[in-house]
């Protein structure tokens, strides 16, 4: 049975202006999140990602539908029971949300005090957690004395204090610089792999999905438009809106504007070759083009590695007679998808 299960979940908020129709933030979402996996939720801001996450630990009640966490139905659960459930669900935030009036120790011990953990046990547990996140020497510091990365590590230690099975991360690295992001992602990876904590990770950063997630759901307009294996969704998105989102984080087929720039700069036929999970085919492609006697230049694109599986989109400017180009493209190995970009005025 999945650890978290959402069935036809809807959430509407009353409109801010009186008389206007309510705003639908989450619109009929079905999701299953298995124990032990890291589930990414991506999409533009305003797509309903954060609201969806806040439904999972009951910070907001659903308008309709069913959410179960560890077999407990949240819809209609009294506040008292919800609070008990939240003790078993950690949450970390983009702005860290540390208690500025408390020390690092005070922050990390807070959930334990809420849970009624005995005092001696609290001290032991806080030391253990601060050791895990590498801040054992900062127990007496105040949040404003810490760097962004350290603050988030305190946030993670606090979220893990009660040994939750599930961790919710709402844009946890979006306020951090690239290097610190890397460090925090490494820590979250350990949380998943060493502690076996299931995670739901909201992000708009490719890095986060690439490093952490096993599965991903793309949200748009309150709906999950596509979900599946991270590699599948990012290498070959099926739905127009997920394609649009993926294209903002992965360099794929150049857009019309980009094509115009490329055409102005490069003579020759523009084609985009998409490689799907096969690093070796690239070499075959380039040797096939050479054998045909074509000139080629790499003008756009990129290669992505998701947990050791490679995909990429490379746009080439090919120079040579049209017939030879067509013939060469016809002999390319399987696993390469060819997109012929419309030719402008320039002919090669």
């Amino acid at each position: 049975m999945p650890l978290v299960s959402l069935r036809d979940v809807r959430k509407t908020f009353p409109s801010a202006t009186r008389g206007a129709p309510p705003v639908t933030a989450v619109d009929g979402v079905d999701l299953d999140i298995e124990a032990g996996e890291v589930f990414g939720i991506v999409g533009y801001s305003g797509a309903g990602k954060s609201t969806l996450m806040r439904l999972v630990n009951g910070l907001e009640p659903v308008t309709s539908g069913s959410i179960t966490v560890g077999g407990t139905e949240l819809n209609g659960l009294p506040e008292r029971e919800l609070r008990r459930l939240r003790i078993g669900i950690g949450m970390i935030f983009q702005q860290f949300n540390l208690f500025t009036s408390k020390t690092v120790r005070g922050n990390v011990s807070y959930p334990l005090r809420v849970a009624g953990t005995p005092r001696t046990e609290i001290d032991r547990r806080v030391d253990e957690l601060l050791g895990f996140v590498g801040l054992a020497d900062k127990a007496g510091s105040h949040p404003e004395q810490l760097s962004g990365g350290q603050k988030q590590r305190v946030g993670i230690a606090r979220a893990l204090a009660t040994s939750p099975r599930l961790l919710l991360a709402d844009e946890a690295t979006s306020a951090l610089d690239p290097e610190t992001t890397h460090e925090v992602l490494g820590l979250l990876k350990r949380v998943n792999e060493e502690l076996g904590v299931t995670m739901i990770v909201i992000t708009h950063e490719m890095d986060v999905v690439q490093t952490l997630a096993d599965k991903v759901a793309v949200m748009d307009g309150g709906r999950v438009v596509e979900q599946g294996d991270v590699f599948d969704v990012f290498s070959a998105p099926q739905q127009p809106s997920s394609r649009r989102f993926v294209s903002t984080v992965v360099r794929g087929v150049p857009s019309a504007d980009e094509q115009a720039v490329l055409r102005a700069r490069h003579p020759g036929r523009l084609v985009t070759l998409s490689f799907h999970d096969a690093g070796s085919t690239q070499a075959e492609v380039f040797s096939a083009l050479s054998r045909a006697g074509l000139g080629f230049e790499l003008v756009f694109g990129g290669v992505n590695d998701i947990r050791g599986r490679v995909f990429g989109h490379l746009t080439l400017a090919l120079t040579g007679p049209d017939a030879v180009v067509e013939q060469a493209l016809g002999t390319l190995p399987d696993g390469v998808t060819v997109t012929r970009l419309p030719n402008g005025d320039v002919r090669g």
């Binding site: 630990n57 910070l59 609070r83 008990r84 459930l85 939240r86 003790i87 669900i89 950690g90 949450m91 935030f93 702005q95 949300n97 540390l98 208690f99 500025t100 009036s101 408390k102 807070y110 959930p111 809420v114 849970a115 105040h142 606090r158 979220a159 204090a161 009660t162 919710l168």
Partner: protein
């Protein structure tokens, strides 16, 4: 100066009375204002106990009583003072009325300072399963402690100001002293003696408040 010397014991008594009136009013008005302010804060939309009707009633109550000039309020509330503390005149009556008036003013200061608490930290506390009452006690109030201390310092100075009209209902203190022995006797030196005592007191209060707030901010 000579006219002041024989009045020094009276000045000492008046100073003591002012401290007594202000201290008790701060305690009663401060607690009342804190409760009322918490009511205003927590019933706001999106807060911990959002409740539109209660919020509206509290706001109207505060908006009605807060702008009344204290000297008028003191006279108008005399029957109420008689009802609650048994007398309509003297220091007890003034402490009662001052506390009541201060509570409304303090409530706004409390509300404003609590609103500086980042919603995110409340969300973080909720996410670990803390109850709303616990959040008020362990997150909202501690997070706003620095600004609250400065707010209450402001209130203490304002109470000193308001307490000066105690003489109107037969109360004592520095205001009464300055009017009775200074102004009415055409002795500006006596009036200024009261002024200086008040200045020293206010400076001390403000310094103490700043020091406590700094400690709270740096905790």
């Amino acid at each position: 100066m000579d006219e002041l010397i024989p009045l020094l014991p009276k000045l000492a008594t008046a100073t003591y009375e002012t401290l007594y009136i202000v201290a008790l009013s701060l305690v009663f008005g401060g607690v009342g204002g804190l409760v009322l302010g918490l009511g205003l804060y927590t019933t706001r939309p999106g807060s911990l106990y959002p409740n539109r009707p209660v919020s509206a009633v509290l706001n109207i109550l505060v908006n009605v009583f807060r702008p009344i000039p204290f000297i008028i309020f003191l006279a108008a509330a005399q029957p109420l003072a008689r009802l609650v503390v048994g007398v309509g005149i003297g220091n007890s009556a003034i402490i009662f009325t001052l506390s009541l008036a201060a509570a409304f003013g303090i409530s706004r200061i409390v509300e404003q300072n609590l609103m500086t608490v980042q919603p995110g930290v409340i969300e973080a506390a909720r996410s670990v399963g803390a109850s709303r009452l616990r959040i008020i006690g362990t997150v909202v109030l501690p997070e706003a402690l620095g600004p609250l201390i400065l707010g209450y310092t402001f209130v203490l100075v304002a109470l000193t100001d308001m307490s000066a009209v105690a003489g109107l209902v037969g109360g004592g203190g520095l205001g009464t002293f300055a009017i009775q022995y200074g102004y009415r006797q055409f002795e500006p030196v006596v009036t200024w003696a009261a002024v200086i005592v008040i200045i020293v007191f206010v400076q001390a209060v403000q310094a103490l408040g700043n020091w406590l707030a700094r400690k709270a901010f740096r905790r």
